[in-house]
Subunit: 479 residues, 2 copies
């Protein structure tokens, strides 16, 4: 909206703003009942003084287009339409509120928005820093496109065959033997979870997972009325000894786990534990989703083979992705599992988006098949290790007296737990005011009120240091 | 599986096949209970005689890995696992059957599969023929990638700003004034429908649509327990006079329409009818989804402006896509509507797949912003027109005595209705045997038992002629 203001015009800024807002209302972009952005936010957007915004809002309120809401905020009135048409205008608000899928938690919505504000130190972001993303290589991949090899049509339900073959080869290098027919290409690992939620489970199903877990920060299963149950974790990972009781009490239908470089704890499941988990889940006919988003990002040495490598009878759905290693924007991930399951998921994928971008699939095949992926991994492992060590140094310097954490041996995250309770929301807000964005532990476990998830993959090393120092100071004030 | 056969080996082919299937079972890709492909199909896959397959299956049955199913078919047994582990193996079958989302109709599943068989004459396919897809231009777009302009990270919730600006400009040329803030980029128009289904409606909601309609061939709304009601169509399009009664009887919550070059009928809603529809839907507070997938593909002259161009108070969600004009594989579409609705849909999109491929978004921006799109449209309009006219000529030559149809003024489809009832399933099967793939009318309206949807966009002109002749002969036999 901002670039529509003309600062050299004779029309006062407040009148221009009034006009812009009026148009939004008249064109129906802000329909009756819409809560408009706060005055502070509008001042930010238009880069004007708050008083200029106030003047505009006052005019619009006087002319009956806006009204102050009880409990704060300003919303678009119904009056205009009433007088024009004598009909109640369409009430989108009730539509927006009544959809089946739950909204993101307000904290995550706020984080999603703030991440696109410049100047933020993003200590929570679970994504490679732009300086680690392979822009140059991707440009070369694209430049090498041959018209004959591109595929611009709708793809096969399971995904382009070349990518599936490349993924099968990639999995073989990890000890997982799967044929391309048992692989589904998805638009990132998240979509795999979404398809599993609507494709394989009844409403009210019980899903077990580590606690804390990435899964708690999503609503994929909960929006379909499924129930999540958290299983305690020790230094070897999720403790499968809890499974029998869970199964008995809640009737567990599925177990979701991130065995390597867990999000958010950074932990790694030991090889013995992996075997034990498979043994127990088999005894209890409990299928497993293994999310291996971070498995290739080891920093000190490779993790044990994936659970799927020990899977004898197809009770594991293995999920992988290029998001954490090559590019989240590519939106390419995969699921490997028994063919009937893969076919069911492929059928649902066709029904929800007709398959993943064929450009992305084509690029993914180039990355995986040509050795480019392994080369790039070697580079980012080195760089991530430097970042991890820098973050650990900053933590030691600023947080030793107030918190504990473990050294992760791979992935992106350090789970920092403060010694004493503190109001995490306030910490989040105050950090935000100082342009530092953190991920509160409560996103991953309602009870984790003393923890935050720190990511060393995104912010620059100097920002990591600065951000950690800031958070430490704020935490100290609040404890 | 086929390329694992070694035709020069001393091991007989049937033993090799036995081994390949055994591995699939042992690796868990075909878990207990899986129904394996028919012998005919396996013979196709391995390109061997049926008797070779039979020999392999017999061996596997003898060794207890497979068993004949009552009612035909062969499935993987439970025995092996029982004797090995004394535990009931994981029963994926019940998972595959009990998911919330409905499976595609078996006809559509069959079509999805057959489309990737070489040598098929695809008379039903709603997609540009490879010879109309802009491979050369896409290669040039990719070759022109500048590393600095690419975006490889996760994108903003509503989609990359450049694409949204390009889409806003594109819509302006159609008389639709929308700001980029009111636009959401989606992975194709289908995904827009999926997001609307899980984001804006309660279970049991009532959705009105043309009858027949593309919407009936999908399960996006039905899988969320919503009810679809068909509204009759005349030569000016959907007849809004039926809305009041529908609203009263079923409590209509949403109306979905394809006003320009309707799928499957090819019809066009007149301008007066568009205005009338808006008037009535406003009077009944009925929001509209306008699906404009084919609007740019006019052949004889531009259609009236989109409904959205007449929308005064934001009661229309406008859906567009590049699938039918540039490339379905790109998976890029958009929704334009009131900002609070767009934000809600963006939030759900973030929760289901973290946004659309940034490569595709970047390419889409290049297409829309640079004039490339309009140039390409001019070319394919000419070519589609030639195809349409050829299809009409073939129809006249072969079907005049047995069917009726209308000349579509744009889009891909001709809705052909036979004079007399005939068993559509048999027609479908027999056509398939002659390598002709058709879309039965019942996919779009359960009652349309005498119609088929013919597409002139995919098959070559000579195949169109050949395919139409074949279908006419078969239909004549069956009528
Ligand atoms: C454990 C885990 N799984 C899946 C995802 C989603 O990844 P994608 O971008 O492939 O959807 C993430 C991203 O944060 C993750 O941490
Ligand atoms: C009317 C209509 N809408 C939407 C779609 C889906 O298009 P997309 O590929 O953009 O998801 C189709 C494709 O057949 C269609 O005919």
């Amino acid at each position: 909206m901002n670039n529509r203001l003309n600062r050299n015009s004779e029309i006062p800024l407040y009148q221009q703003i009034e006009q812009i807002i009026k148009e939004k209302i008249v064109k129906g972009e802000w329909p009756a009942g819409t809560k408009i952005p706060s005055q502070r936010k509008l001042a930010d957007i238009f880069r004007v003084n708050r008083s200029t915004v106030t003047a505009a809002i006052d005019e619009l309120t006087a002319s009956g287009l806006l009204e102050g809401k009880r409990g704060g905020g300003t919303k678009v009135t119904n009056h205009t339409w009433k007088s024009l048409s004598a009909v109640r205008p369409l009430d989108w608000t009730s539509y927006v509120r009544s959809g089946i899928h739950r909204p993101n938690s307000t904290t995550i919505q706020e984080i999603n928005r703030q991440e696109f504000n410049e100047g933020m130190i993003r200590l929570g972001t679970g994504e490679l820093s732009p300086e680690l993303l392979p822009y140059r290589q991707m440009k070369e991949v694209l430049a090498g496109a041959e018209a004959e090899k591109l595929s611009l049509g709708y793809e096969e339900p399971k995904g382009n065959r070349y990518v599936r073959e490349a993924v099968a080869e990639h999995l073989k290098r990890k000890g997982v033997n799967t044929s391309p027919d048992s692989i589904l290409i998805v638009s990132g690992a998240l979509q795999a979870l979404q398809l599993i939620a609507i494709g394989l489970l009844k409403r009210k199903s019980a899903v077990l997972t580590e606690r804390p877990s990435y899964l708690y920060s999503l609503h994929v299963f909960q929006s379909m009325e499924m129930r999540l149950f958290g299983i305690p974790v020790d230094e070897s990972g999720l403790d499968p000894a809890f499974i029998p009781a869970c199964k008995k009490q809640y009737g567990a239908d599925l177990l979701y786990t991130i065995p390597s470089f867990h999000n958010p704890t950074g932990r790694q499941m030991s090889e013995d534990r992996r075997k034990e988990l498979i043994r127990i889940s088999k005894a209890y006919s409990l299928p497993i989703i293994e999310d291996d988003a971070y498995g290739d990002l080891w920093l000190d040495g490779p993790p044990p083979p994936p659970l799927k490598a020990f899977d004898q009878d197809g009770s594991i759905l293995y999920v992988g992705t290029l998001s954490k290693t090559v590019s989240p924007g590519l939106r390419i991930g995969w699921v490997a599992g028994p063919e009937p399951v893969i076919e069911r998921l492929a059928d649902i994928k066709m029904q929800t988006d007709y398959g993943s971008s064929s450009l992305s699939q084509w690029a993914a095949a180039k990355w995986l098949a040509g050795g480019l992926y392994e080369q790039h991994l070697a580079t980012i492992r080195k760089k991530l290790k430097i970042r991890r060590d820098a973050a650990l140094r900053s933590l030691k310097a600023h947080c030793q007296a107030i918190a504990t954490w473990e050294k992760p041996s791979g992935g992106f995250y350090i789970w920092v737990t403060f010694h004493k309770p503190l109001p995490l929301n306030t910490l989040f807000e105050r950090a935000l005011k100082k342009n530092v964005l953190i991920n509160p532990g409560t996103l991953y476990d309602k009870e984790a009120k003393q923890s935050i998830r720190l990511s060393y993959s995104y912010a620059s090393i100097s920002d990591l240091e600065k951000g950690i120092r800031t958070v430490a100071e704020l935490a100290r004030e609040l404890m």
